[in-house]
Amino acid sequence: MSIEIDRVNKRFRDFVAVDDVSLTFREGELTALLGPSGSGKTTLLRIIAGLEQPDTGRIRFHGEDTTDLHVSKRGVGFVFQHYALFKHMTVFQNVAYGLTVRPRATRPTKDEIKQKVMRLLELVQLDWTAHRYPHQLSGGQRQRIALARALAVEPKVLLLDEPFGALDAKVRAELRRWLRRLHDDIHVTSVFVTHDQEEALEVSDRVVVMNKGRVEQDGSPEEVYDHPANPFVYRFLGNVNLFEARVHQGSAHIGGIALPAPEYADQRNEHGHAYVRPHEIEVFARQEHADALPAKVELVSVVGPAVRLELHTDASDALVHAELPKHRYRALGLSQGSDAWIRPLHSRVFLPDERVLNG
């Protein structure tokens, strides 16, 4: 079932939560709505579910207008950040809930319900918890039960609101891989909201980056990571260094070095910003290349197999972050306070007014 969002707007008093958003989620796809808090991603998800009404605009499921359909009639499975399991019911009763509340005419028999619930509990690998109460389970287990409960009603679309937000890092990572595998098995059109870029890039088929109620970029995970549409997306998807640059006839000049910027072949002496990811900065102990910038190591931090350096250079207002493998760092023989040379391998240049032009 595809979902079509057609020029949807939503305000809460003066706050514009969703600002004229149009999107289409294709059938069977797992899409991440990614953005900082307050970007309108959760509101948009709730509008799709019918838990919130848009001020203007329409929602269509597979071409059928569902904007005015009550949430209980929409056929959506909704998974909440804090699970929202009914704590006075056992796990079994929770999962069975959506089936037992059906009107008598369409309600499955007790045996059918039992079979289906047990099958779902096996799917989420928690069939042994059927007679426990939610408070006897861990956070990760509760969220899997919440997912089983949402799937029990055979939803046309599955909507997940920060489903792993309340879990610790290890469980999060496990659960999102598990969700990916589950989605590959059941193929229901799914949308999940997250503010964690790593989660969005790892799990989804498609990423929609939102900011201030608007869609900043919409594409595959590789696309949005490798070709961010604007500075916001660049910054939001991972750490980034910002250099002052002079853009002139297809190259960006940072300090004494020139990097290719072919999209600006026609610009002359424009001021711009060059964005460079930490792992795209080469660090040297001596001036091995003519086009390297002199820098000074301010801070060294070892994070597992990688080493992060913070360097001061005249070409950037802020400290430059560089990331390199530990063996490479050892070979360089650098330490805190040493002089070093840095060279951006490649960059993405944005002119100051581009944000406006793109929007």
Binding site: A49, V71, S72, F78, H82, F86, Y97, G98, H135
Partner: protein, 276 residues
Amino acid sequence: MSITLARRRVIPGFGLTMGFTLLYMGLIFLVPVGAFLLYTTTMSWDTFWHAVTQRQVVASYKLSFGGSLIAATINLFFGALLAWVLVRYRFPGKRLIDALVDLPFALPTAVAGIALVTLYASTGWVGQYLELFGVRVAYTQLGVVVALTYIGLPFVVRTVQPVLEDLEAEWEEASASLGADRFTTIRRVIFPALFPALLTGYALAFARALGEYGSVVFISGNLPFRTEITPLLIVAKAEQYDYHGAAAIGTVMLVVAFAMLLVINGLQWWTSRRHG
């Protein structure tokens, strides 16, 4: 819990607080009740039995326990409704109504009784119209129930209100997204969550009604066999220097009330244990 174990606790003052608690409970509660029960045991079984089974006394039990149960039940429904309205809706005057709920706690019960009798007497503002329909409130058993309902009003509201405020909106949303209509959501999700609080409120309202004296004596007319409540009988016996009779009836009330509260609390413990 042994004292030695308690000494190793992080929070100091176990001995002091426990000692004070026992002394306080003793002076305020155990000694008076104990003395009263002890006094009852000085009676012979026959005297006791005779005192507590007089027809007039039995009629008063029926009114006291029956009236209190009815009043608590009325408060259960309307208290829950009132709590719901106060928590769920915004309307002008909400804070005022919220504050008024506590008034039966503060207003002297005699004042309440006189006010009620003025309103509901056959010449009163409300009573004269009810009279047209043949309904009489003042000096009837109905009047007793009205007074008991009035003084029990705050209990259910105040026990249910905080629970309702803490009830996650997500539960209702989850229930709706699973296809449940509003009524089903209330019946299967909201009501079970409120149940322990409802039960507590019910027990408190019932206990309060059972012990009520001040407001009822004004509106009931105190007709023997008809509108005489047990607490009034106890006072009447005591005034006639029949201390044994008063103590005997008091003991019956104490035992029955304690048994009923024990059952309600047991029920509540049983439900809350399941939900954790």
